[in-house]
């Protein structure tokens, strides 16, 4: 029941985010969307993820979004139609895609062996502790690569935005 509510709301909210004409409205719908995703994490016993989702996405990233929208004067763009007449084609393809996914998902018959981090194991230690431990031991290499990725993103932003066009 919970999952059905959250999944349904996520879909509706995503549609709202992309169809609103006023970008500020879009961003605010996105805020509601992020809160729902956090709810989904809670539902999966991942309270740390839920908290991070709210703090990082709803707290930091959305504020940045709003800043950008305020800095850019989007008044002109609001009057332009956002979509060309391809939405019908997109809808058909999306529906076909959904049918494929749903029919496949119903074929999940085997349950793979559970890992060592069962719900009880996480509960006994706290999800924050568990995530921290794994992140700095088993997943150390991916963690470091992710930091490199962020560095490249920063360099890119500086290179593309700082230079003056000649």
């Amino acid at each position: 029941m919970f999952f059905a509510y959250f999944a349904g709301m996520l879909t509706v909210l995503s549609v709202l985010v992309v169809t609103r004409r006023n970008p500020v409205h879009s961003v605010l719908w996105m805020l509601v969307l992020f809160v729902h995703i956090a709810g989904l994490y809670l539902f999966l016993n991942a309270e740390f993820m839920a908290a991070i989702q709210i703090i990082v996405y709803a707290g930091a990233i959305l504020v940045l979004f709003l800043f950008v929208i305020m800095l850019l004067d989007l008044k002109k763009d609001e009057s332009v139609r956002k979509f060309q007449n391809q939405w019908f084609l997109g809808l058909v393809i999306g529906l076909i895609f959904m049918v494929v996914l749903v029919s496949t998902a119903s074929k999940i018959t085997v349950i793979p062996p559970l890992g060592e981090y069962s719900v009880d194991a996480i509960k006994s230690e706290g999800s924050m502790m568990t995530i921290g431990k794994i992140l700095y031991t088993e997943y150390l290499l991916p963690f470091e690569i992710a930091s490199l990725l962020l560095l490249v993103a920063i360099i890119g932003a500086v290179v593309l935005a700082k230079r003056r066009i000649e």
């Binding site: 793979p112 062996p113 031991t137 088993e138 290499l141 991916p142 990725l149 360099i155 593309l160």
Partner: protein, 483 residues
């Protein structure tokens, strides 16, 4: 709770080349602040890549495949050979870009750093032992390339290239993540060698979820190596990006895509070979056909080379389809040869560019042989090689890929490939005809630089040497992959 896991300094050893590349990139960023001459920055970049190459060479002799960071990182002959391709790619790209970026008025130090970071991403992809590491390596490579494609901020088409590449790249990443998620959902692991075990123990080889996972992963890498029908971004991006970046990304990301495709399909989904081969065959046919036929209609040489690189991806795929280690060897062999001939062709394209003259139209090559016989002769060699005419290396590359396909009973695929190879000869040779048999419309001055000349000499020599003595390269590839 004890995780039963420890990291020792020994884990660092296999990733020393990657660490070297990152450090070199960071040094370049700092150096850019103090050194005014960008040639120095470029030179230090080349030195960094060579030091990393030396590191890989040192690790190369270790016979056993090395595993580090709890199976996240694999260092074997296969990964090492791909790293060799990536090093050569980045070194030659830096060689051809020093003068060119000046002409384009985009001589930034960050350019060289991003090339190194992108190469690091490719190296991580080639060595990935876990789908998560693979994904992060891919993003590191792709993000750097998006930025590089948009480096010419003053040009609309460069902006368009970067945006298109970014959006479609993000789209393909979503497919990859979907595929990884489905695979993880059904097998319970993201580790490549564990997936192979799970497929057998859980008896899920024919399960639709596993199938869909493979399909999504193939689609995602189809984007990266520009297979038809996932190629739409390639011509626009190749045309809009700075030519040196086009040269870089027509080889690097493609090779990295093949490295990963080989690793994932052979090592993780090896038992499902029948299934993934049946997905790859139509893709290969479409790619060879589409790439060769659409290239006929191009008037811009960068677009033409884009479609040519699409067609070549189709030929390379035949080695993967063959599904044997011989097939994989022939694909890797082809990639190395493609690196030399493609880089050489782009070096000529870059020479044509000078201030106030794009030199990208095929008609600009009319009568080039009258004023510049040497450059035309080199272009002739590269075009012959791309078309696959003996005694150039391009012929050898195609020959072994086709042989591998025929050996596994895919004779009809080899026939199709030969037919489209013949079609493609038309547009390669058209350039040659323009250079040698037409009169020049206007005299063209070439922009040369010492580093560019070295790259041209090396690529032309390699194309000819590998064409006449193919066993040099082939033995190296065999030694790396088969041990």
């Amino acid at each position: 709770m004890d995780t039963g896991f420890s990291i020792s300094l020994l884990d660092i050893r296999p990733i020393v080349p990657e660490i070297t590349m990152v450090c070199a990139g960071l040094i370049l960023l700092l150096l850019d602040l103090v050194v005014r001459k960008k040639e120095v920055v470029a030179f230090v970049g080349i030195v960094g890549a060579i030091v990393a190459l030396y590191g890989t060479f040192k690790l190369y002799g270790l016979s056993e495949p090395q595993i580090a960071f709890s199976n996240m990182f694999i260092l074997d002959g296969y990964a090492n050979f791909f790293k060799l391709i990536f090093y050569l790619n980045v070194i030659m790209t830096i060689g051809i870009s020093v003068k060119y970026m000046k002409v384009e008025k985009a001589s930034y130090g960050e350019y060289y750093a991003l090339l190194l970071f992108s190469t690091t991403g490719m190296m991580i992809m080639a060595s990935a032992g876990d789908l998560i590491v693979l994904y992060l390596g891919l993003e590191l490579m792709a993000l750097s390339t998006y930025i590089l494609a948009g480096l010419l901020r003053g040009q609309t088409r460069s902006n368009e290239a970067a945006l298109k590449y970014f959006f479609l790249g993000a789209f393909s990443s979503a497919f990859l993540l979907y595929g990884i998620a489905l695979t993880y959902g059904i097998t319970g692991t993201t580790n490549i060698s564990d997936i192979a075990v799970s497929l057998l123990t859980l008896d899920i080889v024919g399960n639709p979820v596993t199938m869909l996972g493979i399909i999504f992963i193939i689609v995602a890498f189809g984007f990266k190596i520009a297979l038809i029908p996932f190629h739409m971004w390639a011509p626009d991006v190749y045309e809009g990006a700075p030519t040196s970046v086009t040269a870089f990304m027509s080889v690097g990301p493609k090779a990295a895509g093949f490295a990963v495709l080989g690793r994932v399909l052979f090592d993780a989904f090896g038992v499902m070979q029948v299934q993934w081969v049946s997905i790859l065959i139509p893709l290969a046919v479409l790619t060879m056909a589409g790439g060769s036929i659409i290239a006929l209609a191009q008037t811009n040489i960068k677009r033409m080379l884009a479609y040519s690189s699409i067609a070549h991806a189709g030929y390379m795929l035949l080695g993967i389809i063959a599904g044997t280690s011989i097939g994989l060897t022939s694909t890797v062999n082809y990639l190395m040869i493609y690196l030399f001939m493609n880089m050489g062709a782009f070096a000529i394209v870059i020479m044509m560019r000078r201030e106030g003259f794009q030199g990208e139209n095929i008609e600009d090559y009319m009568g080039l042989a009258k004023d510049h016989p040497l450059a035309s002769a080199l272009m002739l060699v590269f075009m012959f090689s791309l078309a696959g005419i003996p005694p150039t290396a391009g012929f050898i590359g195609k020959f072994y890929v086709f042989m591998a396909a025929i050996h596994e009973g895919y004779t009809y695929l080899a026939i199709i490939a030969v037919v489209f190879s013949a079609v493609s000869a038309f547009f390669y040779l058209r350039i040659v005809v323009y250079m040698y048999m037409k009169d020049p419309k206007e005299s063209v001055t070439l922009t040369t630089s010492p580093s560019l000349s070295i790259v041209l000499a090396v690529t032309a020599m390699m194309v000819l040497i590998l064409g006449i003595f193919p066993s040099i390269l082939l033995n190296l590839v065999r030694y790396s992959i088969l041990g």
